[in-house]
């Protein structure tokens, strides 16, 4: 199938679903579907670092927050100016321009944050890297708590609603295709070689620092975009949405689904998001369910539900050249 045909069909399908979905399943379920989509973006992107490159990061919520707040501030403070400049466009196009500007800014800001965290901390391994990234996430949250212009501890309200099912799932598609293409290229092999054996990777000419930072930056950019979509859907941001527990949920998603599998990350995101809703009446006890689930999975299926299984196999080997 030609690439542009795929994207055209996808756009049409998403637009059709956007116009009918809310009526079909109700506002509550619609919101859950949106959250599932945002979590898929987060989980699939986190999988790039934790699953493919084999670095243990638990700071994804930090990049998510950077994106959410960057996009929200840009649209909140710069929105009128952007609307003014695009006044000749119809309302829906103005909204799209605003959202795309927000997404763009979110990706850049989160990418820079990923780079800034990645350069010094990727010299560390395993637990040490995990601690640094955890600390980074908390620093971001505390910083936000103390910036009054973006609401501080009151939360950031009055963000225009711009994203919806269409945008969220368009980004889901883009994320999945990007990560899939990336991991099935030389870049992906470089990432995986670092996970498998860093010393051997370096000896084979893989610049491990560069590729680690690269996977970190790409991953945080998508987390930032997810943040932008989240803020412009809920219209309100609070630092408590970006607690380290958010990072933990994301890790649970990819571990349940299977580290290093895109389909696994998607399955994990769907499962965890839906289960969180199903168990909502248990309050704080819903975390217990995940502990039990994780323990069971570690015992019976340590590679995750899908393991490294993948639906879209990369191309088979060509017959040997003469």
């Amino acid at each position: 199938m030609k690439k542009w045909v795929f994207w055209l069909v996808a756009l049409a399908a998403l637009a059709a679903m956007e116009s009918s979905l809310r009526g079909l399943i109700g506002a509550y379920n619609y919101q859950i579907v949106i959250l599932v989509g945002i979590n898929i973006i987060l989980a699939v992107s986190l999988n790039l670092i934790n699953g493919y490159t084999g670095q243990f990061s638990i700071g994804h919520a930090g990049f998510y927050a950077v994106g959410a707040y960057t996009s929200a501030s840009l649209v909140f403070y710069g929105g009128p100016a952007i609307r003014g400049a695009t006044a000749f466009l119809p309302q829906i196009a103005q909204n799209a321009v605003l959202l795309l500007a927000g997404i763009f800014a979110a990706a850049i800001a989160a990418g820079i944050a990923g780079w800034a965290v990645g350069i010094p901390s990727l010299r560390l391994r395993g637990d040490y890297l995990a601690i640094v990234t955890l600390g980074f996430g908390e620093i971001i949250r505390v910083l936000i708590l103390n910036i009054d212009a973006i609401g501080g501890s009151r939360g950031f309200s009055g963000i225009p609603q711009l994203s919806n099912f269409f945008w969220v799932y368009l980004v889901v598609l883009i994320t999945v295709v990007t990560v899939h293409n990336l991991v099935n290229s030389s870049y992906g092999r470089a990432f995986i070689s670092i996970r498998d054996d860093e010393i051997a990777a370096e000896a084979m000419g893989v610049d491990t620092t560069r590729y680690k930072v690269m996977s970190f930056v790409i991953s945080s950019m998508f987390a930032g975009i997810a943040g932008s979509l989240f803020g412009h859907y809920t219209m309100y941001l609070h630092p408590n949405s970006f607690l380290f527990t958010t990072s933990f949920y994301l890790i649970i998603m990819i571990v349940i689904g299977g580290l290093g599998s895109i389909e696994g990350a998607i399955l994990g995101a769907v499962l965890v998001t839906v289960l969180l809703e199903v168990f909502r009446e248990f309050g704080a006890f819903r975390l217990v369910n995940f502990s039990i689930l994780l323990v069971l999975i570690m015992i019976y299926r340590p590679q995750g539900l899908l393991g490294a299984w993948t639906l879209f196999r990369p191309r088979k080997a060509a017959p040997a050249a003469k």
Binding site: T178, N181, L182, S185, S186, Y187, G188, R189, A190, I192, S193, R195, D196, D197, I199, A200, A201, E202, A203, M204, G205, V206, D207, T208, M214, G260, A308, K316, A317, A318, A320, A321
Partner: protein, 253 residues
Amino acid sequence: MGILDVRNCTKRFGGLIAVKALDMCLNQGDLYGLIGPNGAGKTTVFNLITGVYKTDEGSIELDGRTIHRSKPSSIASLGISRTFQNIRLFRSMTVLENVKVARHMRKKQGIVDAIVHTRHLKSEEDEIERDAMQLLKIFNLDARADELAFNLPYGSQRRLEIARALATAPKVLLLDEPAAGMNPQESLELMRLIRSIRDEFHITILLVEHNMKVVMGVCEKIQVIDYGETIALGTPREIQGNPKVIEAYLGGA
């Protein structure tokens, strides 16, 4: 001046001097053996040449370029490749993918190419795959290209490591105990293979090996080190008769 020139290199680990003012010179096309008793510093020399360790003193030059301050990946791209004493294959990858990784740095794919999967990327991927399969064929591994490297028998894993190292198109190939764990039959084949690699790829090979049969059978020049210092240098025949070498291996009378 040779293709690989180690001059006056010293490496200390705390109070231990692992390599002491070592000189080594490999000429283009050499099949050079580095031997010594356990703990003599052979693997340290390998790690110095490949940039895993930095020298405390002295210099290392590849083809006239100073490399002892570069990081391992740049040294690899300048043309030094290696295998490992304890096999370090990429265990979650197939045999073919292991070789493809090593081919990667000889290609120029942009990140955008990779994300969009452009035509340029596809043609380059095909090229990488062709080169990789050709290498696997030479090493008799092409039939198992799609198996996980991890599942290969030990001897094949060793051969795959050499194939992977060659995929980086090196000028100098470092083999760290390639015959370790091989039976006599396999070592014999390995010797033949090493010689044919040198002739076919026109490269220089530096070999660390404990199996004397292999070293004496395949190397044309041998350097013996003990406690990080050179104690003998010469042809296999000269080395075998050298009293210092015999003393290092068997102890003084």
